[in-house]
Every structure is written in structure tokens, then in C-alpha cells.
């Protein structure tokens, strides 16, 4: 790994550890290996959003050309959000693409991702299904996102109705996550989700 990249990551790691956000438990950064090429990030779901109370784990890969090229970041924790793929965790965010600047840091990235959870941009979607729901049925989107936060990120909000529907599909032999995806995609319409799963 290039010298500058390692230098930078070492410095940035220290910067995040000492930051006030860490003190408030809003963000976290851990080294995965000692060559500084991969890190594990964590952000807390912002208050007054469907992600509140959840903890979201991120995979951060540092390219050789860092910081002249952006880090490669994706959500490891499954999340229901228009700009994040519900399948792969890939993120659509300008600063991780062409708006990256060498003077930005991992702290900037974590804080920007947290901001993205508070303010989605459905017109620049990563996940078309989620974005469509967000635009057409915001309430449905919010309860779905809250349910995913509960299941995958340790959020507090239990949705009995959703869980019942999932259980029905599981009893029919569908894998649980697959059932959740189908129901989420069809606005929790059990009939249509079943149809899609068995067609």
C-alpha cells in the first residue's frame, strides 16, 4: 500500500477516535487489519428518522490511490433506503464518486452517510423499488424502514403486523429475508408478495 494512504489512515483513525462524535457514540471506526487497507465503520441511526435506535455497520476499503481516490464503502447491515441497495448495501452518494476531494476524510464520509440517513435523495436512487415507495407512499416507506432497522440494526420498534405476515410466508417454506424483501417491495400486500414468490 502506498505510503501516503497508510499515513493518512493512521492520522484519520486517531482523529475519529478523539472526535466528539465518538464521545456521543454517533460514529465508530475500527481497524480490520494492520495494513490499514480495510476498516469497519459504524454509524448510529439519526434521531427522528426510521433509523433511530439502530446501529449500522459499514465496510470501508481503502484503495492504493487514497486519498486521491475515494474509499469504497458499503453497508454491511441490511437497510431500507432509496440511496442504498437493499441487496448489496452499495451506496449512491456523490462524495463517494465524482465529488470526492483529497482533503476529505473518513470522518467526513461517516458524517455524510449519517446525513444521508436523515435526508434521502429519491431522485438519484440506488434502489429503484425503495425510491418508488418513498415517493408514492412515504408512510409505508417509513414503517418498512423502521421494521428493517428493528430486525437488522437492533432498532426498538417491533411491528407485529409485519412479523405475522413474514411468519405466514416462512410457514409456506420461504426463507425469512426473502419473504421480508418480497413483502417490503409490495407494500406488505401478502397476496401479491406470495404471487411474486411462487410465480
Amino acid at each position: 500500500m502506498a505510503n501516503i494512504a497508510a499515513q493518512r489512515i493512521k492520522r484519520e483513525f486517531k482523529e475519529v477516535i478523539k472526535s466528539e462524535e465518538v464521545a456521543k457514540c454517533a460514529i465508530k471506526l475500527e481497524l480490520v487489519n494492520d495494513s490499514f487497507t480495510e476498516l469497519k465503520g459504524e454509524i448510529a441511526g439519526p434521531p427522528d428518522t426510521p433509523y433511530e435506535g439502530g446501529n449500522f455497520v459499514l465496510e470501508i476499503k481503502v484503495p492504493e490511490t487514497y486519498p486521491f481516490n475515494p474509499p469504497k464503502v458499503r453497508f454491511v447491515t441490511k437497510i431500507w433506503h432509496p440511496n442504498i441497495s437493499s441487496v448489496t448495501g452499495a451506496i449512491c452518494l456523490d462524495i463517494l464518486k465524482d465529488q470526492w476531494a483529497a482533503a476529505m476524510t473518513l470522518r467526513t464520509v461517516l458524517l455524510s452517510l449519517q446525513a444521508l440517513l436523515s435526508a434521502a435523495e429519491p431522485d438519484d436512487p440506488q434502489d429503484a423499488v425503495v425510491a418508488k415507495q418513498y415517493k408514492e407512499n412515504l408512510e409505508m416507506f417509513e414503517s418498512t424502514a423502521r421494521h428493517w432497522t428493528n430486525i437488522y440494526a437492533g432498532g426498538p420498534d417491533l411491528n407485529k403486523d409485519f412479523n405475522d405476515k413474514i411468519r405466514k410466508l416462512v410457514e409456506m417454506g420461504v426463507e425469512e429475508h426473502q419473504a421480508r424483501v418480497a413483502l417490503s417491495s409490495y407494500n406488505w400486500d401478502l397476496e401479491r408478495a406470495t404471487e411474486q414468490l411462487f410465480s
Binding site: Q7, T65, F68, A101, A103
Partner: protein
């Protein structure tokens, strides 16, 4: 200055030259150019120049010099402004007089907020590499964001390797200021990367200049320049590529750039369905013997029963000579609105195939006629060798063949045009003219295939008629 008429006529006729070799048709030597506006008589008239890279550099530098003298700014900043404003010098000067600061901010020469203030300590820490160097190792753009020279260099190398040149900006967060050419060249030292940068930046400049187009020919460096930025036919003097000046793809009159793009996409998407029609053989409609099409002409004569028929519609050829040549026209089912979705889809496919078949067929005819022409050339060569006439005696045949190619090329491009036309009197007129052009082209093709036995005056008369039909159609429908 190179106009269509200047393309030299050559004994050799490649695919492309056939269309460009129209010296006899645009020969204006004996007409006083001052008095006649050539664009009035020729709907395809187009004035353009073919420039080398050096000539383009010179042209761009003239604008750069003009602007930097006028505004008293560095040439490299003038380039940033020119690239941003599509090389419109007067527009930039106007905006500069109005509000210089706003112009410089909008063009990303100056930052939108006040420049970063820097303390004048002897040592600084670079925010990118986080190393401390003496302050003389640091540089900034107009925005005042200081970074060490080593980081600037790596930044440029990374960007250039990703194909970015005019778009390289400052490394600070949310800073939009662009890096001017001289700043990059001062810091990039590797010759191959420098070379790449100069190449990319040149491409960006040409692409942003409304009067310049890269020749689309493979590995061709020629840049075509024209004051007229319309969808006209440009011919590269070096590689002989013929293309539309506006969109850069194969010339497509009378169809416009947007429509031809739609058509080509459709053809690519529907290629599976359309495949079955590309068969080379059909049965004679009278004696049912199998006939292979090996010439470009669509007027077929069965070698068995001598029946004259049309390759496209298999109708009697005699009927095609009449005033309204129906073969090119698609007859829509008048009751289609009341039919089922399925029937409508079938009808839509039928309609598309009608136009596609003709489009494809004329393309094929173009190729076959080129083969016929090559064979003809060999035969004429033999005649000349054995003392029967000279090359000059047969010159008219070559002119006829290239005219035929030009006419058929236009005819081919009338089909996408007609496909997207709304039904109504204008479409009827178009299809009437298209039918007439088609009929005359087939007559010309028939005569050229039998050229050695056809009367020369008769052939020349036919050429004249075909070209008149072509020009008439373009005058009425070429909308550029």
C-alpha cells in the same frame, strides 16, 4: 476552403468516394459565385474546412490571445473561460464588463466564497499527505487552499489516468475551482502523462467548440470546421469518411439527427424479428422458379419466363412505371383503432417491417451496385487495353455509377423519415416524391447494368432525371 464540389473525382471509387465524387454535379467553375447563392439551388450545400491538429491549435490560440489581451488575464485562465463558454469570445467579454467577479466565479476560476486565509508560518502541514514541509513547498489556486507540490502532482496523475483534463479541480472539500493548464503542466513531470493530458485537453477543447468536429473515421486526426453547425454532409479530405456535421454519424438526409438515432436504435433492438427478411432469394411470381438477386437493381427479370417484376413487392414491373409507384408506400389498415391489442401489435410490426425491408434492401443494393461497378470497370479496362476507346470515353459511366450510389443513399434514408411521419397530406406528398425517386433510380440502375449496350445520351438523360428527383425531395423535406 473545401466545399462538396472540390472533392476530387478519381478513377478509383471506394464505397465512400462514390458519394463524394460529385464533381460534375457541383461544378460551379463557370458560374460567378458572387452572384449566385449556391445554397439556394443545392439543399445539401455545405462549406467546411478539414484542419490538421496544428491548424486547430493555431485557431484556438487566436481566441486565447484575443481574450487574454482584451481582459488582461493569463492565457491559461482565458482557456478555462473559453472552454466553459464554448469559445464564444464576445459573450465572455460582455459578461466580464457586466460583472467580472460573477463571471469568474461561474466559470470556476475564482471561489464563490472569500479565499482561504493562510498564516505565514515557515512550516505547514499538508492536509492530504499529513506531512509537514517548509512553506515554499506549497501551492494554491485562486481559492488559497494550500497543498504540497507532491500531492498536487499525484492528484493530477490520478485524474489524468482516469481521462480527466479540463475538469480537474482543487483538492479541498467543496471547492469548485478548476486547475488551469499551466498549473498542471508545471507539476506533472512524467512525459507520458503530460502527453496524455495534452491530448485529453485538446479533445475537450475541440468538443466544446461549436464550429469544430472530430472526423469520426477510425484513427483519423482530422478536425472539420464549419461556420454552419447544421446537420449537413461533411466529407473528410483525408480518410474520405462522410458524416453528418451535427451528430457525427453517417450522413442521413432527409432524416434529422434525432429521428435517425431513434431509427437505428429501433433497428438494433428489433434485429431478431427483421432477420427473416434478409434472404437473398425469392421465387418468380409467374413461373415460381427460384431467383437469386445478384445485382442492385430491384427491377427483376426472370431468366426463365422473362417476366418483369419488382423484387420488393413481387408486383408486375410495368405497374411501377405509372404515375403513382405504389411499392414504396405503406398502406395502413384504416380500422386499426378498433382492433385488438394483439392485432395492433401485429400491424405495428408489419408497418415497421415494410420500412425496414426497404431500408435494408437499398443498403444491400448499394453494395451490389458497387460490385456491378467493379466488374464493369474490369470490362472497360479490357476494352481500353484492346484499343476499343479510351478511359475518357467511358468516364461518363463512372460518373453515372457514383450518381446512382448517391441517389440510392438518399433513398435509403427516406425510409426512416417516412416511418416516423404522421399520416396526412404531407406524408402523401413525401411518399409520392419518394416513389418517383425510387422509380428513376431503378431505371438508372437497370441502364447502368446494361451500360455497354445502352445509348449514352439515354443514360445521361436518366442521370439528370434521377438527380432532379433527389434534389426536389431534399429541397421540400430536408429541414436543417
Amino acid at each position: 476552403m473545401n466545399t462538396e464540389g472540390d472533392v476530387d473525382s478519381d478513377m478509383e471509387c471506394s464505397d465512400n468516394e462514390c458519394f463524394g465524387d460529385d464533381s460534375d454535379y457541383y461544378n460551379t467553375d463557370d458560374i460567378d459565385i458572387e452572384q449566385v447563392d449556391p445554397s439556394k439551388n443545392d439543399p445539401e450545400y455545405f462549406e467546411f474546412e478539414c484542419l490538421t491538429e496544428e491548424q486547430v491549435e493555431r485557431l484556438l490560440n487566436e481566441s486565447v490571445e484575443l481574450l487574454s489581451n482584451n481582459l488582461q488575464i493569463l492565457p491559461s485562465l482565458a482557456k478555462v473561460l473559453l472552454h466553459y463558454h464554448n469559445w464564444n469570445v464576445s459573450e465572455i467579454i460582455g459578461k466580464y464588463r457586466e460583472n467580472a467577479s460573477q463571471l469568474l466565479i461561474n466559470s470556476r476560476v475564482k471561489p464563490s466564497s472569500a479565499p482561504a486565509s493562510n498564516n505565514c508560518s515557515r512550516y505547514l502541514t499538508c492536509p492530504v499527505c499529513v506531512l509537514t514541509h517548509s512553506s515554499d513547498k506549497f501551492l494554491s489556486l485562486n481559492c488559497g487552499h494550500l497543498f504540497c507540490k507532491g500531492c498536487w502532482t499525484i492528484h493530477f496523475e490520478v485524474q489524468i489516468n482516469q481521462g480527466i483534463s479540463t475538469g480537474i479541480s482543487c483538492m479541498a472539500r467543496e471547492c469548485e475551482v478548476l486547475v488551469p493548464e499551466d498549473f498542471v503542466l508545471k507539476l506533472v513531470l512524467q512525459p507520458n502523462i503530460k502527453e496524455k493530458y495534452l491530448q485529453y485537453i485538446f479533445q475537450d477543447y475541440v468538443k466544446s467548440h461549436p464550429q469544430l468536429r472530430f472526423c469520426p473515421g477510425p484513427n483519423c486526426q482530422v478536425v472539420i470546421k464549419s461556420q454552419d453547425t447544421k446537420a449537413k454532409r461533411a466529407t473528410c479530405s483525408k480518410c474520405k469518411s462522410i458524416f453528418c456535421f451535427k451528430c457525427g454519424i453517417d450522413y442521413h438526409a432527409p432524416t434529422d439527427c434525432h429521428t435517425i438515432q431513434k431509427w437505428l436504435t429501433k433497428c438494433a433492438d428489433d434485429s431478431e424479428t427483421a432477420n427473416y427478411i434478409s434472404a437473398h432469394t425469392k421465387d418468380c411470381p409467374k413461373c415460381h422458379i427460384c431467383i437469386e438477386k445478384n445485382g442492385g437493381c430491384n427491377h427483376m427479370q426472370c431468366y426463365n419466363c422473362k417476366y418483369d417484376f419488382c423484387w420488393m413487392c413481387l408486383g408486375d414491373w410495368k405497374a411501377h412505371g405509372s404515375e403513382y409507384y405504389e411499392c414504396s408506400r405503406y398502406k395502413e389498415n384504416p380500422n386499426i383503432a378498433h382492433e385488438s391489442v394483439h392485432a395492433q401489435a401485429r400491424e405495428a410490426l408489419k408497418k415497421y417491417l415494410h420500412y425496414y425491408e426497404r431500408w435494408e434492401n437499398h443498403l444491400k443494393s448499394l453494395k451490389l451496385e458497387k460490385e456491378t461497378f467493379d466488374k464493369l470497370k474490369t470490362r472497360i479496362n479490357q476494352k481500353v487495353m484492346s484499343g476499343r476507346g479510351t478511359w475518357i470515353d467511358w468516364q461518363y459511366l463512372f460518373t453515372a455509377a457514383s450518381l446512382l450510389a448517391k441517389c440510392r443513399y438518399t433513398l435509403q434514408y427516406t425510409y426512416p423519415y417516412a416511418y416516423y411521419m404522421d399520416t396526412g397530406p404531407r406524408k402523401e406528398l413525401f411518399e409520392y416524391q419518394q416513389a418517383q425517386l425510387e422509380a428513376e433510380i431503378e431505371n438508372l440502375s437497370w441502364k447502368i447494368e446494361r451500360a455497354e449496350t445502352t445509348d449514352r445520351g439515354d443514360l445521361e438523360n436518366q442521370m439528370d432525371i434521377a438527380e432532379k428527383r433527389r434534389t426536389t425531395l431534399l429541397k421540400d423535406f430536408l429541414d436543417v
